[in-house]
Symmetry: C2
Subunit: 469 residues, 2 copies
């Protein structure tokens, strides 16, 4: 990390924490250079970077100012009241019909679950693929089936270590993306008909997995900034025979909430008391905007109850289908399930990512990716401020690539979905994020694509449709 | 295919069908050249090839002779009596303890489920991987999730077409190897507790999949040459509410049986009358030794009841984890299950295989592979003739890379497994191929590795242990 990047992070932190408020002037280059003991050119480079990150902008002849759409301009969406009943899950038809309808590559992909593939170093990865597969010992295709490529597992363990987590290699199993990992985790600890506590709203894929495994859901409300409501979860654990808790503790999809570390610790403690396993879906872990990586709940796991699922699909190599799980006490069971389900993840893909992690400059790429996403969030927030009704509530996550919008109550997100689609714009309507089809006036917007006039115009159109309700 | 290869196939067919018996002299070069209207050098090349294929050998100054271990020297294993009860499946612990114990790369891999990776064009594939991934449109990682890479699906459909099967592209779904395809098929047509008709003996992975999905098995005896007993199957279908039939119709693992085409047709007709789906596991389809590819049961499917599962793992690209299913009327259901389970198969791996199929010389590779396997079978049969007790019964499959041995009744295959392992030799003991732990005096031997003195010595050691019982 370069000096100007560190300095930019310091300023960004002041903006995030509200010390520097929207519209406020950022210290002048000369002043900053003197007080922080850095060269003026370092300050310039830092301010230029912050401008690209969408946090400040220059006004001719008057210096740099914090962007008007910086934190706290929008009201937060509201956490919904808990539903105390458990429910069968049956969302797939709705979800699939919506996913099918947004496949057209000419549709503006605000409804997509993926960031734009142009943000990833696919050509560099392709070189890793070529050299790693050329160097691959043919025998590994028979011997390294499970738990996966040892070099890759070592690299992943190293990244955990740098983040302050000492994981024994034996816990780590490579999977076909995080999705397979999550499926296997849930299957390892449940039988059909069992109850699982999930988030409300929850990523629809979580609902689909529950549906596939014939599990019942108990919805726990998610606070838009701090994640799952632990009081409600505690009551639920008292009342129901919950077999597992599934949570995206960091940059929750769709809301964007991240549990503070103390809350993650409290979650782990609570589940420890009940001896209920936590399935931690942490696929956005690397997409944080703050200077420090948020710790996962897994960091507080003492007795192997936390199954931590990660992936390279959202941060490096979409389409390679390489994810993993650090499965604690369930590692062997999950490894066996994996062998019976799909044997192993594609070996050249595993070898390529191992090679890239060693030689490709992953951290440099991640830094660039985070800046890009942060800037795109800023642009989308600005567009919402310009084009959406004033009562619109918006989450402002400190990572990932989703905004969660709570629109005026009269809105019907499914109707909005169809009206927007007719204009060539996809959105993700709230009801696909709940087995009880709540969040009828909410939508999730994806800002994972580089911002351009198409995006800006689409937001204008969307705002017009919303206002027409 | 070259002229001498065709001529060699003609002679091979005469040997297989018994027209040319073991020890018999093959027509002289001059005679063959005159009667068949080919040049003497073509005959020479053909005989040389047949020698490499293990079918004939030269005796100095007297010409070429059919090998003594050619067909019909061994008695066939016997088909076992049917068990009419359905049974829970609980083999995984046994299977895993056996698989774990044979992981050591220094063990002679007669117990392995894989052919030697040295038989595959991995370097050529690696080039396909490099060029295909370099050329990959980044957007496909978002758009081509399912049903899979369109070029690859087209190539697979083309191969079906050449084999005389017109499959609509919509039926074809790419999976993480055939194993995932089989899992999805079974899941698409069953609920936990349902009954599935399987082969006895059955590939242990089939048993594991049933176990994972909590299905009950009804075992249908397999004739060592002609496959599943259709009379028993017909009675079973009358008596039990069978939800699916799982069969390896060609080169069945472990026995090596292949249903004749008429029998495949009869199987499809029978299931059509009962409207019970067939899950056809056809992963060895390309490994035939005869001049013509055997047709799958899928070729006789009229109403989409047959789910035909294939893979490149055994014929081209082990470790790439690319398989497929032509799923008939279940195609959409399976595609959705796939999306919920693991999204898609690794995209660079799919693109690489598509590229190889188009430019890599797949048919040339397959021809070489078939000759190699046929020659290795011949060497192993010869070793059995030399080192095993005379009462040993052996299957002589016309494809694949497994022999199924029925040893004298007093043998205990599990004991034999441990004694052989102590000598550094793995075998696959009969009981892992049956949920009722039958086949206690049977073993499966893998001849998928190039034959060498290590193999020969291992067979001698194995023969000595068997004789010591």
């Amino acid at each position: 990390m370069k000096r100007y990047e560190r300095f930019a992070d310091d300023i960004a932190e002041l903006i995030r924490s509200g010390v520097l408020g929207p519209g406020q002037r950022v210290p002048s280059v000369r002043y900053a250079s003197q007080t922080h003991g850095v060269s003026p050119s370092t300050v310039f480079q830092a301010y230029y970077l912050l401008e690209r990150r969408g946090l400040i902008r220059a006004r001719p002849r008057s210096g740099y100012f914090v962007n008007a759409h910086a934190p706290r301009q929008f009201s937060e969406p509201q956490a919904q009241a808990p539903v105390s009943e458990s429910t069968d899950v049956d969302v797939s038809d709705l979800v699939f019909s919506i996913l099918d309808s947004i496949k057209d590559p000419h549709t503006v992909p605000f409804g997509s679950a993926f960031p734009s593939p142009t943000l990833f170093p696919l050509q560099r990865l392709s070189r890793s693929l070529a050299s790693a597969s050329r160097a691959m010992d043919p025998r590994v295709v028979v011997t390294d089936l499970s738990p996966g490529n040892p070099q890759l597992r070592r690299q992943i363990a190293l990244r955990y270590m740098v983040a302050g987590l000492m994981l024994p290699m034996e816990e780590l199993l490579i999977t076909n993306g995080a999705l397979e990992a999550l499926n296997l985790c849930l299957q390892a600890v449940t039988e059909p008909g069992d109850l699982v506590a999930i988030e409300a709203p929850a990523f629809y894929v979580c609902l689909q997995v529950l549906e596939r495994l014939k599990l019942k859901a108990v919805e726990i409300p998610v606070h838009p900034r701090e994640g799952m409501d632990l009081d409600v979860l505690a009551q639920t654990l008292e009342k129901h025979p919950i077999k597992a808790v599934w949570s995206m503790t960091t940059f929750q999809n769709p809301v964007g909430a991240s549990m503070p570390e103390a809350k993650k610790q409290a979650l782990v403690d609570l589940l420890h008391r009940h001896q209920v396993p936590l399935i931690e879906d942490d696929v956005y872990a690397e997409l944080y905007y703050a200077p420090q990586a948020p710790k996962p709940a897994k960091a507080f796991d003492r007795d192997g109850l936390v199954m931590h699922c990660g992936s390279f699909s959202k941060s490096l190599a979409p389409g390679y289908r390489v994810g993993w799980v650090a499965a604690g006490r369930y590692a062997q069971k999950i490894e066996r399930l994996k062998l019976m389900t799909s044997l192993c993840a594609s070996m050249p893909a595993q070898a390529a990512i191992a090679d890239y992690l060693q030689h490709g400059g992953y951290d440099r790429h991640l830094r660039k990716l985070r800046y890009a996403l942060e800037g795109q969030q800023s642009s989308m927030l600005a567009a919402i401020a310009r084009h959406f009704p004033a009562q619109t509530r918006v989450s402002q996550p400190s990572g990932g690539y989703f905004l969660w919008l709570e629109l005026p109550e009269r809105m019907d997100a499914l109707k909005l979905f169809h009206m927007a689609l007719a204009q060539g714009i996809s959105i993700a309507p709230g009801p696909i994020f709940s087995p009880t089809r709540r969040f009828g006036n909410c939508i999730r917007l994806n800002y994972g694509s580089p911002w351009d006039t198409t995006g800006e115009q689409a937001m204008q159109t969307l705002g017009r449709i919303v206002s027409s309700f």
